[in-house]
Symmetry: C2
Subunit: 620 residues, 2 copies
């Protein structure tokens, strides 16, 4: 895409004293704007220049559309603001906070309207950026509201700017309801604000063709009443037709009931376990006491969608098998409704539409679980801002379990519980890290989607897959151990790959004997606080560790040194044959550095301060 | 200083193909240049716009002068190149290497001469900087050679650029003896190159007036023959006149024998111990077998000078007492000659000129030693790139030993042995780091000078002084323990302060009992490799540790956790009264962050590529 030419009126901001002199306080003044700048020129398809769209706030007053140019390394944003009063803030921050955020601000001082690249400090105070990297391309009044078009490079090299990376981006917004005499007069803490998580840098991969005999099946909530509470996970059991033969799912997409776009947060379709002939029907909250216990056996992911995700296409040569013998007819739909305004009486029939074919593709697609075994031996000390746990899929396991031609990972879903903040899986070969399988530096457990990889990663026999999760336990008093509970932790990457193999689980945990040596050592330095007697459970032992810098640092050192116990398991939870205990940690002699962002060498015309936006309308 | 206006001819670089077409290879072409650009305008005093000057190479062919503008946050450089053939490289790097260096390059392709901001990668390959931050202001032919005038901001925010900070800067240079068809054709590994260490950001403090009755005394080498070897430390004993009464040294400066400017690296004047009535006279290498052993008792620093340092002035209210009863009449001069070209037959009488007064100032100045006790319990594992050891001067010691009005530190000399790469001392009060006393992120043991602090640091009773040293032991096979030997390590900050107190040493080391717990722990994890029997010395125990990530990490954790033994000592090496063993580590709840560099918000006219410099002369 060509950089659009910008014949706009860049005017410098009048000095505060001049503006203060003008009468401008009083009731809120509506901001109306006209087309100021040249229309966007570009190579994006004319029918849909902004393929991605998401509501920012629960009422849908702010709607963001965007596209991504990998050649320009820039994102074009189109922000539609309905019923705007006096301006808005929009931007990004590490974890969705309005403090320490990278912002664009549209505001009025009562006389003029301004647009500027800004940032907020740790107190929420807004400041002008020294470097103006958000570039306003168009401000247009439309029947729906005010539409702002602006672009920003992925990386700006302004230390106050957010680096737009692969993975989750926490978008933030704020609504201005009155004029401000200057940008510096704005503090985010007094505003109506919110956040929305999204994968901004969607992969730029061609859509594989769908076979001509493709049929669809809709797995949808049965016109339910959305509970008037902030968080609901709705569970609904449905089933495939009797005698439904083996098919390949080749694609799926979301179906959102009109008007509920801001309420439906994510949805997953699970297949139930084949070992049970039938499952009871159910439609209700997943945490309901009425939910039949057998539904816990419906955990095999068939499809997953989260806010902002588009249709998911399997690679042309692979599909997910379902139906036929050895496969359960029962499916569970789980819908996460996010209803912070506690809207009542809203009915919903959202769900997922599966596209499937009877003409089986060359390969079955499979899912493999990488990371840590669900065991309390892997624990995070309390009051940590970024403690890292790492799970390994060793060369020995891939050597034994992968086919000689290897496997090809094309998608990945990262998973932790509430303390997870980052997840990354790296592929290593011959002791050297080679490739990132998937990385999310702003991971949120509240936003787990299956993501297509930008580049398919091939894993060969003898390769090592290293999955590291970073946890924040600053609000916790006791150690967080690994396990299934929501306050316990996991570190998992579900990788989607083909051809499907028998290897379903390739995970590790520290050797339990070495952990006991650790508890002994803690006792030696801390006067016998930890019970190392055989009857104490590992969670009990961790709970009795007096956490100090030494005990914390030594635990970290232990995890970076002690041998591991490997789970190199078939689908049936049976280990592959071999000795999997007391395995050495994979030796990595060279690591991949996070790439230093390339700053745009030559910038376009860039104003030194805010841009004046002329007001032509009256009050609304 | 105003930013100079630059009416220069910024021309873009002809494309390589155009230049390649021109005939330009053959014998080296001398580069002659004329004044191209406006003369430097500024507020620097007209008599000496460049107060600092240093030879870069041992032959003195390249001479650098510079000044510092703290208001502009920029350094102006004037580089004089004598007998230049085809160009030069000049710049800075982390530790003086020509790889990964930030460079300016003046080169010719045979037709034209060019000036550009560049960088070298880890293979020494030179590349053009995306951002041109070195700004050429003047290129002038003078009788002495080519004089280049250019400026650079302290911080550029170009990730390829060196950040000019307080402390040591490793300047690097390279000589081009033939034309290069392009900047990218240059590799630093084939060139004659070198480095020079200097404190670039000299403090900008007014010179205190010197009393009218000031007299001078020269402590100089007695016309010695500089040995024709790379490194010589010369020791010379001299004495004060008999009945020399108590005086205050108020200033001192170097005296360098003309022609030896590039050979005299640093000099120190030490006072001998008062407990001996006399010391034998001596003039010879300090490592000579003939050197009398008693000279080891001449260690009290009176004055120190290193290459690039200007005159050292004591604050107006303080001076260093010498002469009179209780003070030795004997002085030791130590001169470090750096003679890498092994020049023969060069005689030298360099030394230090002391300015002293009989009118004693209000306060005696004193020197206090902060950091680590010289003991093997503090050790650095082998193969570490940046291992940190920390020594404390605790609140308990400052509470007891400092006067109620506190002391004022005005200068500092950092000291480690060969593995030291960084040193910093921070002042903490009430658990919070408040102020940097002195920091050198590019410290070199080969460049130890007494540096005036930019800002006097006042230390009150109850304050904590934390001195951290970073070591590189990548070329070592065994642990490096603390001690006096050149292959053992130290971590010391000699702070110069007033009023003088009895506290001469405020240092710490880890508790020896906790270190034994560490050796026990190492045994438990490593099957009894370390002798923890009482007769084994600590260096022997460290030597038998099998170094792996765990033993290394746990040692680091131990140093960050275990109680310390304090040396809170008077001049006579006697501890102040109190319990100084098993002291808790000072608890620090908030640390000072290294400031993020401020990038110049609006740059001056900055070319996108090399600047063409027109050639007017012929061959030389």
């Amino acid at each position: 895409m060509q950089a659009p030419s910008v014949p706009c009126r860049w005017a410098s901001l009048p000095s505060p004293s001049a503006r203060e002199a003008a009468s401008m306080y009083g009731t809120a003044v509506a901001v109306f704007l006209v087309i100021l700048v040249a229309a966007l020129q570009g190579s994006a398809p004319p029918e849909s220049p902004f393929p991605y769209r998401i509501p920012l706030d629960p009422e849908g007053a702010l709607e963001l559309s965007w596209n991504v140019s990998y050649s320009q390394e820039a994102v074009h944003f189109q922000l539609l603001a309905r019923r705007l009063r006096a301006g808005l803030l929009f931007g990004m921050s590490d974890r969705g906070e309005l403090k320490n955020a990278d912002l664009v601000v549209l505001w009025t001082d009562g006389d003029s309207a301004y647009f500027a690249d800004a940032w907020s400090d740790q107190k929420g105070q807004v400041h002008l950026d020294a470097q103006q990297d958000y570039q306003l391309l168009q401000a247009q009044r439309t029947p729906e509201g005010l539409s702002l078009l602006f672009k920003r490079p992925f990386a700006t090299c302004d230390p106050k700017d957010y680096l737009i990376e692969d993975g989750t981006v926490h978008l933030v917004y704020g609504i201005l309801v009155e004029p401000f005499r200057s940008l510096e007069a704005i503090n985010t803490s007094g505003l109506q604000t919110g956040l929305q998580r999204v994968q901004l840098l969607k992969p730029d991969i061609p859509t594989p063709p769908v076979p001509s005999d493709t049929r669809t099946m809709e797995i949808r909530a049965p016109d339910i009443l959305i509970p008037d509470q902030e968080t609901t996970y709705w569970c609904y059991i449905t089933e495939l037709p009797k005698d439904f033969s083996r098919h390949h799912i080749v694609m799926y997409e979301s179906i959102i009931t009109a008007g509920n776009e801001a309420l439906v947060h994510h949805m997953e379709v699970f297949q139930c376990a084949a070992e049970f002939d039938s499952f009871p029907h159910f439609s209700g909250p997943c945490d309901s006491k009425m939910k039949p216990e057998r539904l816990n056996y419906c955990r095999h992911v068939l499809a997953a969608w989260a806010l902002g995700a588009k249709a998911f296409y399997y690679p042309e040569e692979a599909g997910v098998a379902f139906g036929g013998p050895g496969s359960s007819r029962f499916l569970r739909l789980e819908v996460h409704y996010h209803n912070p305004l506690q809207i009542k009486d809203r009915r919903d029939s959202s769900g997922i539409r599966l596209y499937y074919t009877a003409t089986l593709r060359r390969f079955d697609a499979g899912i493999m679980e990488l990371g840590l075994v669900y065991t309390p031996v892997m624990a995070v000390p309390p009051r940590e801002s970024a403690f890292v746990l790492t799970g390994y899929c060793t060369d020995k396991c891939t050597q034994l379990a992968l086919p000689p031609s290897g496997i090809h990972i094309f998608a990945s879903q990262l998973h932790t519980h509430l303390a997870g903040t980052k997840v990354v899986t790296v592929l290593a070969r011959d002791g050297r890290e080679r490739e990132i399988v998937n990385r999310d530096n702003h991971y949120s457990p509240h936003f787990q989607e299956i993501r297509m990889l930008k580049k398919v990663v091939s894993v060969h026999q003898g390769d090592v897959l290293i999955t590291s999760c970073t946890y924040n336990t600053q609000d916790r008093e006791h150690a967080t151990v690994g396990g299934f509970g929501i306050l316990e932790e996991m570190c998992v990457n579900y990788v989607h790959y083909y051809p499907r193999t028998e290897l379903e689980l390739c995970k590790s945990a520290v050797d339990a004997g070495f952990l006991q040596k650790y508890f002994h050592l803690v006792n030696r330095f801390n006067n016998e606080d930890v019970c190392t007697c055989p009857q104490a459970s590992v969670p009990e032992q961790f709970a009795s560790v007096p956490w100090n810098s030494f005990n914390r640092d030594v635990l970290e050192a232990l995890y970076g040194f002690a041998p591991i116990s490997m789970h190199c398991n078939r689908s049936s939870a049976v280990r592959f044959q071999g000795d999997w205990n007391m395995q050495p940690l994979p030796r990595i002699v060279s690591t991949l550095e996070e790439p230093t962002p390339q700053c745009p060498a030559i910038r376009g015309p860039s104003p030194a301060g805010p841009t004046v936006v002329s007001i032509v309308g009256g009050q609304r």
